[in-house]
């Protein structure tokens, strides 16, 4: 699954919904296999729109789980109009493109920071299904 998808997945356990620790999940950096697909084309406008709706602290947290601590601590504030984007802003968007869209976790595991339940990613497909006794 793509890195960006981590921004939309939470723990499936219902009881964790009242905690604010159920999102983002905590990714195990030592067990996650990352793959980079350079063929995914850079579309600045798409990135700009994505930036608009992502939860930045969650991006930071998962990036740190996976060993990337180079992101700015605040969500970059860029011109919202494509034509006004300057060089520097394009570099930021390009970096985000590399992280959010070109990077996939093909195998790995992640756990809920509230209940500790561990979920797996196999063949790029995350499995968030709970065993019957937790569902």
């Amino acid at each position: 699954m793509k890195f960006l998808t981590t921004n939309f997945l939470k723990c499936s356990v219902k009881a964790c919904d009242i905690s604010n620790l159920n999102f983002p999940l905590e990714y195990d950096g030592s067990k996650c296999k990352l793959v980079q697909n350079e063929d995914i084309e850079f579309q600045p406008e798409f990135l700009l729109n994505i930036l608009d709706r992502i939860d930045w602290p969650a991006i930071l947290q998962v990036a740190a789980d996976l060993g990337n601590t180079s992101l700015p601590s605040q969500k970059p504030e860029l011109h919202t109009n494509m034509d006004e984007l300057n060089e520097e802003e394009l570099v930021i968007l390009r970096d985000l493109h590399t992280l959010l869209l070109q990077t996939s976790i093909t195998e790995g595991e992640m756990r809920c920071r509230n209940c500790g339940h561990v979920y797996y990613i196999k063949n790029s497909i995350p499995n968030l299904l709970l065993p019957p006794h937790l569902a």
Partner: protein, 225 residues
Amino acid sequence: MLPTPYIKCDYNKVYEPSEDSFLVLDSLEKDLVYLREKFKNRVTFVCELGPGSGIITTFMIQNEIPNRSNSLYFSVDINPWALDTTLTTAKLNGCSETNCYLECIQSDLTTSIRKRQVDILVFNPPYVPAVNVPEIPSSKENLDQWLDLALLGGKDGMVITQRVIDQLDDILSPTGVAYILFCARNKPEQIVSNIIETCDLWNIDLVKHRKAGWEVLSVYRFSRK
């Protein structure tokens, strides 16, 4: 008429596209302009519950509903085979990692999706009335049991669909819409009037209905007021 995906998969593992699937496609086609207008110039989070073969998600990507380069498509099924198959179907129709954002997730409905993110929800549910909703098979190899989950919807065929309707306010984004299929035995008119009476959140419209053999199928659109 919009093109329909080419499908080649093992129907011992996933639900074979049928009249219900096609009615959903027709409903999305009918609402194409509405959806493009509503979600233009922004990222759209599209979530299909129960993609099965992947026909509906692939149709949406292929026909840019609501747009291709600005949408994130999430296909969520409980059946592990459905996820592999959805990816294969998408690829077979030219939708690949390099030209669209498609994520396949194994999950029980939207329990694993962050709240209030979904802009377009599409669900052709297990709607056949049955004594119970089947239990989740203990092994990936119990093919028949996975297929039962595609069909059987418990009392009135509404148990799974009702869970989604009850959660809809938590699932949909502030501008979200949902397309949900019903059969006549689900008593959709009664369900809709019930919702309208008890909660003031939704505009609910019949998008399409059709007689299919001995079934009468309908697709309703739920949008926030």
